[in-house]
């Protein structure tokens, strides 16, 4: 999942990074095929080049290796809302068929939640303003739901013209990478479809782990397995963090 995610990043792109898998993905790319990837962390850190993987979004390591450190209003208003970011990475506790994401509460009543999650953070703005959004999360039946309990971050529907109605400039989610495979939205209606599975994963398994009747692309492919170099860099990154 991490390796496949890192392959989407092209050298010279600007990438808005959260802590956890997104940070690992971006730093893996920066240490393999995309050395000039421009990493932006929501703490206001621009152009960070961490040697270790940070535990927190505002680690000292991120700031001291950065080109520039700006205030939080500046990173959210000028950089993110200003449309400067090529790709943003998101994860979530729930995702629906239109890639709407929930990181707020599980359960039908916001005021009496079954599970209280951390909340929105920078996710709604990443979803709205980045040119493209890549979602990375584990593929489980609890997470891949027909309708999210709470829309923390806006995806691609149900209305097909949702994003342009809301005036969002970013294209929204273009890819969902999971531990089972890769989903991409239908270019017209925005519904996610399975376009690739990882080596050894059965389509049946993916369908079982998805609460809605998941469409499968007629040109379904199998992702390339991680190369030795990718695995070595990833192990090295993790070992020094």
């Amino acid at each position: 999942m991490t390796v496949v995610g890192s392959r989407q990043l092209r050298n010279g792109m600007s990438c808005f990074v959260g802590i956890g898998i997104p940070s690992t993905v971006a730093n893996l790319a920066r240490n393999t095929h995309a050395p000039d990837l421009f990493l932006i962390y929501e703490a206001g850190v621009l152009g960070s080049k961490p040697y270790r993987l940070p535990l927190s979004i505002g680690d000292g390591e991120l700031a001291t290796t950065a080109d520039s450190v700006v205030s939080v209003p500046e990173v959210f208003n000028y950089w993110l809302q200003g449309g400067r970011i090529d790709v943003g990475y998101l994860s979530a506790a729930q995702i629906d068929r239109y890639a709407n994401l929930n990181t707020t509460v599980i359960g039908p009543d916001y005021h009496q939640p079954r599970v209280r999650l951390p909340g929105a953070g920078g996710a709604p703005e990443i979803a709205a303003h980045c040119r493209e959004v890549t979602i990375i999360m584990r593929h489980t039946r609890r997470a891949f739901v027909s309708e999210v309990d709470f829309v923390t971050s806006v995806g691609l529907g149900p209305a097909a013209n949702l994003r342009s109605e809301l005036g969002f400039k970013g294209a929204g989610p273009v890819e969902v990478i999971t531990d089972l495979g890769v989903l991409r939205p239908d270019p017209v209606c925005g519904e996610l479809a399975l376009v690739a599975v990882h080596p050894g994963v059965e389509v049946e398994e993916v369908l079982e782990q998805t609460q809605w009747p998941l469409q499968v692309s007629p040109s379904l492919s199998i992702t390339d397995p991680p190369t030795d170099e990718e695995l070595a860099v990833l192990r090295d990154l993790i070992s020094r963090s």
């Binding site: 535990l55 959210f76 208003n77």
Partner: protein, 270 residues
């Protein structure tokens, strides 16, 4: 003009029960010493505001100081849940708390509007989200030029803004560098401003990438060496990641938390 005070004096004088208080610091410069002083002084019914509640508000909530929390991301970064926060939300212990929930950009812009002397400001956000339906200080309007839908967020002007910084001089000018989050916005938005500092120096030697908050905008400056631990202060000490990892063990259980407060906060002086 800034007064130089002991932290206990500043909290006693400038933080009142029922106040709206913003203890900010984005991962960097989190004012833990000031938070502990608030717990020691048994302040009650506070409305507390912070983008990332972090351990500092988990502690204030568990200690029963908080009636309402404004926030945008309530986790233990890189570790998991804030158990005192969740226990208050899910079970009302030690008392129920009200939530006002935002995105980072939304709460940030509430501070920006407050700092700017405006009743509100505008942003592209909240549109299409459930957040936009539950957040009480968000309204929607159309751009008067283009007709585009926009969100308006109401200004937030805390009664007290509490921040931690590297240094202050004798006059009360405060110097900060590294990740600054919403430091300037909280200073300018708050009616009273308490800033704890690692050290008070005769004269500020300027530092690359720093900025200075003039004493004019500060109510009280309080010396508090290591006052941001377990968070960090750039060029003074590192983030204590192990402590953040240990926090669930100290806080998941109510009794364990209470004995931690008793042993580590109530007895201490910082």
């Amino acid at each position: 003009m800034a007064e130089h005070l002991e932290l206990s004096q500043a909290v006693s004088r400038y933080v009142q029960d029922g106040d709206t208080v913003a203890l900010e610091g984005f991962t960097h410069l989190i004012p833990f010493a000031a938070g502990h002083e608030i717990i020691r002084q048994g302040k009650r019914n506070l409305t507390v505001s912070r983008l990332t509640p972090d351990l500092i508000y988990d502690q204030l909530i568990g200690a029963g100081c908080v009636r309402k929390i404004l926030f945008s991301w309530g986790g233990n970064p890189g570790v998991g849940s804030l158990y005192r926060f969740r226990d208050a939300v899910e079970n009302g212990w030690p008392s129920p708390i009200k939530l006002e929930e935002h995105s980072h950009a939304g709460l940030t812009n509430r501070y920006v509007a407050g700092a700017s002397g405006l009743p509100f400001t505008v942003m592209k956000g909240y549109l299409g989200t459930s957040l936009g339906q539950i957040a009480p200080h968000v309204r929607f309007l159309d751009c008067p030029f283009t007709g585009e839908p926009m969100a308006a967020v109401r200004a937030l002007n805390p009664d007290v803004g509490i921040l931690h910084a590297q240094r202050a001089d004798r006059l009360g000018n405060v110097q900060v560098w590294g990740i600054s989050g919403v430091f300037r916005e909280v200073v300018m938005a708050s009616r009273r401003v308490i800033i704890t500092v690692e050290e008070v120096v005769e004269e500020l030697e300027r530092h690359p990438g720093d900025f200075v908050i003039p004493a004019m905008a500060v109510t009280a400056v309080c010396p508090a060496p290591f006052g941001a631990r377990p968070s960090y202060v750039q060029d003074y000490y590192n983030r204590d990641n192990d402590w953040y990892r240990r926090w669930p063990g100290l806080s998941k259980d109510r009794d364990a938390f209470l004995s931690w407060v008793e042993g580590s906060v109530m007895g201490g002086s910082g």
